[in-house]
């Protein structure tokens, strides 16, 4: 073997370092690209959320706004105490999706200002609540307190 022990060790450490460096770069780049931020409808209205970016929308399902359209398309309106945002969703809603209660939808804001949801999360039972819904409760948006009609 032409390599001395020291060179072998260096080669291995170098290889290990390269692998780890690559992994770190991969992780950070992917994180930046795939993170989904969470916003209330008000933030959509104010912050001008980028259309086409994967985000989460949280708020209360406005009473009377759920329309089951042709086939499996469903539209509803998500509101917080100041603003609201229309949402469309194709699919089956979770078991505990209710009007007048909180919901978290994950998807993209369309160019037309309507939120296209890919996934809808609702409360599962009294003991377990998605993190974002817990925050909705804290903000009083869960069951429409302080809501202007």
């Amino acid at each position: 073997m032409a390599m001395t022990r020291k060179k072998k060790r260096l080669a291995m450490l170098g290889g290990a370092g390269a692998v780890l460096a690559l992994a770190v770069v991969l992780i950070f780049v992917s994180l930046k690209d795939t993170v989904a931020f969470f916003h209330f409808p008000t933030e959509f209205a104010e912050k001008k959320i980028e259309p086409g970016r994967n985000v989460r929308l949280g708020g209360m399902v406005k009473k009377g706004s759920v329309v089951r359209g042709e086939g499996t398309k469903i539209t509803f309106v998500v509101a917080d105490d100041k603003n609201s945002l229309p949402v469309t969703y194709v699919g089956i809603l979770p078991d505990l999706f209710r009007e007048g209660q909180g919901v978290v939808a994950e998807g993209k804001l369309g160019e037309d200002g309507v939120f296209r949801a890919d996934r809808v999360l609702a409360k599962h039972d009294e003991n377990y609540t998605p993190r974002e819904i817990a925050e909705l409760k804290e903000k009083g948006v869960w069951e429409g307190k302080d809501k202007k009609e």
Partner: protein, 663 residues
């Protein structure tokens, strides 16, 4: 009365645990053999006491004793008996008790089966295990006591969450805990070795069976959890990168690296530092997983109700044990003598590469799981990190290791010949390429262009390991009788290795097929209408109302035909569990070969009929079958006599000749 006995037993167990934590180690320090010997009986007594406590809690559930608060919260007299029993661990307090029961069970096993381990090491190991059990017994008694009574007793319980009333629940958590907690043994061995300042190949030989056992259970537990989520949650997904799923996956990745690292230590007395560090890391990740699930920091399908005091307590335990172990490592790792040298291209080198990639993959999962939590804790900003991140990082990172597996199996110890190994793998490579071609031709439209290569990778992982074994027994290159003789003489661990690696290949094929070629249809059907998917026709026959023991249901019936021939019926239901007024969806699954049709009923639609979601999932069962094959491989290895705990016996001469292993 039984409840009080259980409570008392628990407190007594804590006392014994504290004694076991201190006395044997003191004996180690002072060279007092009598004190060191305390570890064995103490472990057995601890186990008996915790088992008694667990039995007491079970009795409260099974007899519907609603004066016990825990039973009130989680049980109901109308619940089927099986779920009364399994409901014991369907909640925080009960499952914590199960966790500790398994911990002291493993301690007892080490106490009983570790006779041939040197006295000093044995004493240290049992003490370290007792540290862990003391901490968790204290945690249970102070914050999560399942034996709290409420008088006057309520008439009826609140029932177990319907989603958990399922046979999968009977199996999934105990399997997982046997895995998680099983790694405490490797942890204890590592810490004990650091305390003693001594570690050698024999240490690795003792650690391996325990690690392998834990790994087998964890693999089975994760697979079971995946399958359970698939059929129970009604969404047809088999892995969500849910934080709690990740919490079990991280110890699995580290545990797999540990397993391989320990085998290098055993055979070549090398990679000592890696092995000790991985042993500490794996159990630390198990503890972290426990924290994540129970502290309320996470909320997901799995996590139990949050309570800040519990979270803080567990966090403290985490910091003490993980921090302490790592500090000890930093301080004492220098005392571990250097092991054998090896060339970069060798089996050791391949396994170092394996370790690196598995750790990097584990780190990716770690970051993706904890980053949202950390960010929210620090800045209050809420983000979510989901499948896209994990697919992009973990999915890419794991590929090099998958490709390398067959090479690693062929490479010789100390110094390997990569060209010779590549030559031996040409047939496997050719078969993999053929698989790519077949997949490309047969694939239904759609799906990623890269999917056939994924199938090829799976085939590579099936034929590669097989060809290593074929080479060892000189298949087709010697007389059949000779080959058979060699095959019979192969150690079981060789078969185990082959099957475990092949299992990965099977799983890869299932994952690729489902991810790329799954079909989904969401539509409204009225009675008499037909839905088409992947060549199958599903005729909706309407729905009817039914009653279960603790629920009411609306059940929809579908008759499935393929090209006109009837193939089966499927019934999907929407249930309402009366006690908790909680609705669930029960999916219908029809298995055709390795593929499945999956039907999930939705709500009634406007204008009559119901919304349904129908999937065709090609080769999806391979995902869990692959895991089963991995478990089978692990069991084969475990049953290999050479790897049993105890003084290793010299391999019989014929075995040495048959394997023709390089030194």
């Amino acid at each position: 009365m039984m409840t009080e006995i259980g409570h008392f037993a628990l407190v007594l167990a804590l006392g014994v645990a504290i004694v076991q934590s201190i006395v044997p180690l003191w004996g180690l320090r002072t060279g007092d053999t009598a004190m060191m010997a305390v570890g064995r009986p103490a472990s057995l007594v601890q186990f008996a006491l915790v088992a008694l406590a667990f039995a007491a809690l079970t009795k409260a559930y099974v007899t519907s004793d609603f004066s016990v608060v825990n039973a009130v919260e989680n049980s109901h007299s109308a619940k089927p008996l099986l779920y009364k029993f399994t409901g014991v661990w369907g909640n925080h307090e009960g499952s914590m008790l199960l966790w500790v029961l398994i911990l002291v069970f493993f301690s007892a096993l080490v106490a009983v089966f570790g006779r041939s381990i040197p006295r000093t090491l044995h004493a240290a190991v049992l003490s370290v295990q007792a540290w862990v059990s003391s901490a968790f017994l204290l945690f249970i008694i102070l914050t999560s006591n399942p034996f709290v009574r409420e008088l006057p007793a309520p008439l009826e319980g609140k029932d177990l969450n319907p989603v958990l009333q399922d046979i999968g629940l009977a199996i999934h958590p105990p399997l997982l805990y046997l895995g998680y907690v099983g790694f405490s043994v490797a942890f204890a061995f590592a810490v004990a070795a650091l305390i003693e300042g001594r570690i050698d190949a024999a240490w690795a030989r003792w650690v391996r069976p325990w690690t392998l056992t834990a790994w087998i259970f964890l693999t089975a537990g994760i697979a079971m959890g995946s399958y359970w989520a698939y059929y129970e949650l009604g969404w047809g997904g088999w892995w969500y990168w849910d934080p709690v799923e990740n919490a079990s996956f991280m110890p699995w990745l580290a545990g797999t690296a540990l397993l391989h690292s320990a085998s290098v230590m055993e055979k070549r007395n090398a990679l000592k530092i890696w092995t000790v560090l991985l042993a500490i890391l794996t159990f630390s990740l198990s503890l972290l997983g426990t924290f994540l699930v129970r502290s309320g920091v996470l909320t997901s399908v799995h996590s139990f109700a949050s309570d800040p005091t519990r979270g803080v307590f567990i966090l403290t335990i985490l910091v003490i044990f993980i921090g302490g172990a790592l500090l000890l490592f930093a301080w004492r790792a220098g005392t571990l003598t250097r092991g054998g040298f090896f060339a970069p291209i060798s089996r050791e080198g391949a396994l170092v590469f394996n370790n690196l990639i598995l750790c990097a993959a584990c780190a990716a999962v770690f970051v993706g799981t904890l980053y949202p939590l950390a960010l929210e804790a620090i800045t209050g900003q809420k983000i979510s990190v989901g499948a896209p991140f994990f697919d992009a990082t973990f999915g890419k990172l794991i590929l090099p290791v998958l490709v390398a597996i067959p090479f690693g199996q062929f490479l010789a110890w100390k110094r390997g010949d990569i060209r010779a190994v590549s030559q031996r793998l040409t047939i496997a490579f050719g078969l993999a390429v053929a698989a790519v071609a077949v997949a490309w031709v047969l694939a239904p439209g759609g799906g990623s262009k890269l999917a056939p290569f994924g199938i090829g990778l799976g085939a590579w992982l099936i034929f590669g390991p097989a060809s290593e074994l074929a080479f060892r027994v000189r298949l087709f290159r010697a007389a059949p009788g000779d080959t058979l003789r060699r095959a019979a003489g192969l150690p079981r661990s060789a078969w185990g290795t082959m099957f475990a690696h092949m299992g990965v290949g099977v799983m890869v094929i299932g994952i690729v097929a489902v991810s790329a070629w799954q079909s989904e249809r969401i539509l409204v059907v009225k009675p008499g209408e037909t839905a088409e998917i992947a060549g199958y026709s599903l005729l909706y026959k309407g729905s009817e109302a039914r009653r279960g023991p603790n629920y009411t249901a609306t059940v929809g019936r579908f008759e499935v035909t393929l090209a006109g021939r009837p193939v089966g019926t499927m019934e999907s239901a929407k249930r309402l569990y009366t006690a908790r007024r909680m609705p669930t969806t029960e999916a219908a699954i029809l298995t055709r070969g390795f593929s499945q049709i999956y039907v999930s009923m939705g709500d009634p639609a406007n204008g009559g009929g119901r919304t349904v979601r129908i999937y065709h999932k090609p080769f999806v069962t391979l995902i869990w079958l692959g895991a089963l094959v991995m478990v089978f491989g692990g069991l084969l290895s475990l049953s290999d006599r050479r790897l049993r705990v105890g003084a290793p016996r010299l391999a019989r001469r014929s075995r040495l000749r048959a394997t023709g292993e390089a030194a």
